[in-house]
Amino acid sequence: MAGDLVNKLADLKEQEVIKIVKDRLSAGEEPLKILDDARKAMGVVGKRFADGQYFIPDLVYSGEILKAVTEMVKPKLAKAAETKRLGKVVLGTVAGDIHDIGKDIVVFMLDVNGFEVFDLGVDVPAQKFVDKIKESGAPIVGLSGFLTLAFDSMKQTVQAIKDAGLRDKVKVMIGGGQMSDEIKKYTGADAYGKDAMAGVTLAKKWVGA
């Protein structure tokens, strides 16, 4: 039965997933086990996306189904689930840029691949990145941007991290519409990821996972 939920959610069968969760909850099953299965299913979704079998709509829809499952399970949950994470990542769209679709996909993929992600949102001032790095101790920073105007914001953000004396403590990756290896050099970041999966690969490499 556990396998059912994992498979049905990974296959994006919303109605069946809802029914299974309802049945398992009314059978008095431990809510945490249900959430654990859901998490496993999201791992499968992430893998299928990485393999080119799933595309953005599939990711978005899996997120919607997961939200529905979480809402059903939450009221029965005694305490928040503790999961072991690979590492922390601070991520956001840089100052002056309010694009979020690409950033959200990277956040999603890092999350399902076991990272604890601090999503700072869009139009994030350099200082906010610096503060969050200090506060969380995250060793990885992701800068997202869609506009050519983001090139300079990224450069300023990397500089602010440097000025705060944190440059040696973090690895910085950039990504988004008009980014490239040339822009990586321009901004002083450590790496450019061409898509969400490249971001995950970089993060895994950096934490030695």
Binding site: Y54, F55, I56, D58, G96, I98, L147, Q178, E182, I183
Partner: protein
């Protein structure tokens, strides 16, 4: 006797629209007076060059070159996007400097900034613009959201115009709140009961909305007056504006500003039939929008920015089911009326090229951003003129020599046999001026057909 429009074939209609583009008029409807015979000659040569590249019947004298910026002319002229949106004279000065300094064969006019005051009067919520959500020195950006909710497909399908006026527009323009109270105008039928329909127009919220509309209308007239004067001046100097207007692929109409990216993607699973029906309903409206723009402006080129069909946004199967059929229908409807659809394949479209080449030859003009150009030429490039691909990052951090080398390679790859125009691939805000010059120079230097 000349043939009537209705009797013409689509080829003849296209020729007719190109002929109109070649003979621009002044505001009184008389032939426009060019600055000099040289300017007139240059204007006609430029359009002929573009026309030959599009039609793919004969080789142009050389590969044409476009420069298609977003806010670049504004930064280049040393003003801020905020100034360009609120001071139409400054806006015109910036775009004039841009066109006359870089001398492209085709340009996009001075329409990018738009009238900031009008957006303020209407309390436009769909975008953040300089001073309203983004800094004065930044470009405007869209605020994505579900401005149409998941349960409103039937309302949209039943009566798109009424759905827009009573539901969608009041959500994206704060000042149009009063539209919510208006009746469907198709209920105004005969003496008995007719007066009931006018009750809402007496109510204060509706009157406040109309007051805002009058102010917005006055501002729009002021803006278009400035734009019209600019177009006349720049045309008289010999530089053609390449777009008559725009329309969109129905999937993007729903996915960009109605349901939003997340909304449309979930709808593909939860209510695919409604989504398909809505896109069918929007298709003739998008055709009319494009045809109308081409006829009013006497220019066959109608721009179509493409968004949610890019690689990765949809699977191949999803693209073929949801995106391509109505997008193709819109293009075919435009082509039938002599219009040249000008889709901009923003981002990567490499995996779509084989699908989208199912088009009649010499009838479309495609802006290509980061797709594989070798493949693009071998597929879509067989039936359609391509332009673009010079990358934004190269224009910002590259050197003029690197830009020239890039353009030379593009010409070698894509220009053989015609059907190619040199251009940047994405609408850019920033670039080094010398790199933009290098792009234009390279087209002239390497693009001559012998």
């Amino acid at each position: 006797m000349e043939k009537q429009w209705e009797e013409m074939s689509s080829d003849e209609k296209q020729e007719e629209l190109f002929a109109k583009w070649l003979s621009p008029k002044d505001p009184e409807g008389k032939d426009l007076k060019f600055q000099s015979p040289q300017a007139e000659k240059a204007f006609k040569e430029r359009i002929t060059r573009i026309k030959d590249a599009i039609q793919m019947k004969k080789l142009p004298d050389r590969v044409p070159v476009f420069v298609a910026p977003s806010f670049f002319p504004v930064y280049y002229a040393g003003i801020t996007p905020q100034e360009s949106m609120y001071d139409y004279e400054k806006c015109n000065m910036a775009f004039k400097k841009f066109v006359t300094d870089f001398e492209p064969d085709g340009h996009l006019g001075a329409y990018v900034p738009g009238p900031g005051k009008l957006f303020e009067i209407l309390d436009y919520k769909l975008y953040s613009w300089p001073g309203h959500g983004v800094a004065p020195e930044q470009s405007y950006q869209a605020n994505e959201g579900e401005y149409m909710t998941a349960d409103e497909y039937d309302a949209l399908i039943d009566d798109p115009s009424n759905y827009f006026s009573s539901t969608y527009l009041p959500r994206v323009f704060g000042a149009l709140e009063g539209f919510k109270m208006l009746p469907a105008l198709t209920g105004i039928l005969e003496m008995y009961g007719v007066a009931l329909n006018f009750i809402p127009f007496g109510l204060p919220p509706v009157q406040a909305t109309y007051k805002a509309l009058f102010e917005a209308g006055a501002e729009a007239l002021k803006w278009i007056g400035a734009m019209g004067a600019w177009n006349g001046e720049i045309t008289a100097a010999g530089f053609p504006l390449i777009v008559a207007g725009f329309t969109k692929a129905p999937f993007d109409v729903v996915g960009d500003t109605l349901r939003g990216t997340r909304g449309i993607m979930v709808d593909m699973y939860r209510q695919p039939d409604k989504l398909l029906e809505a896109m069918d309903r929007l298709t003739p409206l998008m055709i009319k929008m494009g045809v109308g723009a081409a006829q009013v402006n006497g220019n066959p080129l109608v721009f179509m920015p493409l968004h949610k069909g890019a690689d990765g946004f949809l699977s191949d199967e999803q693209f073929k089911k949801f995106y391509w059929p109505t997008f193709r229908k819109v293009m075919m409807g435009l082509i039938a009326e002599g219009v040249v659809p000008m889709p901009a394949a923003e981002g990567h479209w490499t995996t779509r090229l084989e699908v989208v080449q199912d088009l009649p030859k010499g009838k479309t003009l495609w802006m290509i951003d980061q797709s594989d150009m070798v493949k693009a030429k071998k597929t879509l490039g067989k039936v359609a003129c391509l332009f673009g691909n010079v990358p934004s990052d190269l224009l910002v951090v590259g050197t003029p020599q690197q830009v020239k080398d890039y353009v030379k390679n593009l010409i070698d790859t894509c220009a053989k046999g015609g059907g190619f125009i040199v251009s940047n691939g994405a609408f850019f805000d920033q670039a080094k001026a010398e790199n933009v010059h290098a792009m234009v120079d390279a087209a002239r230097e390497y693009g001559v057909y012998k």
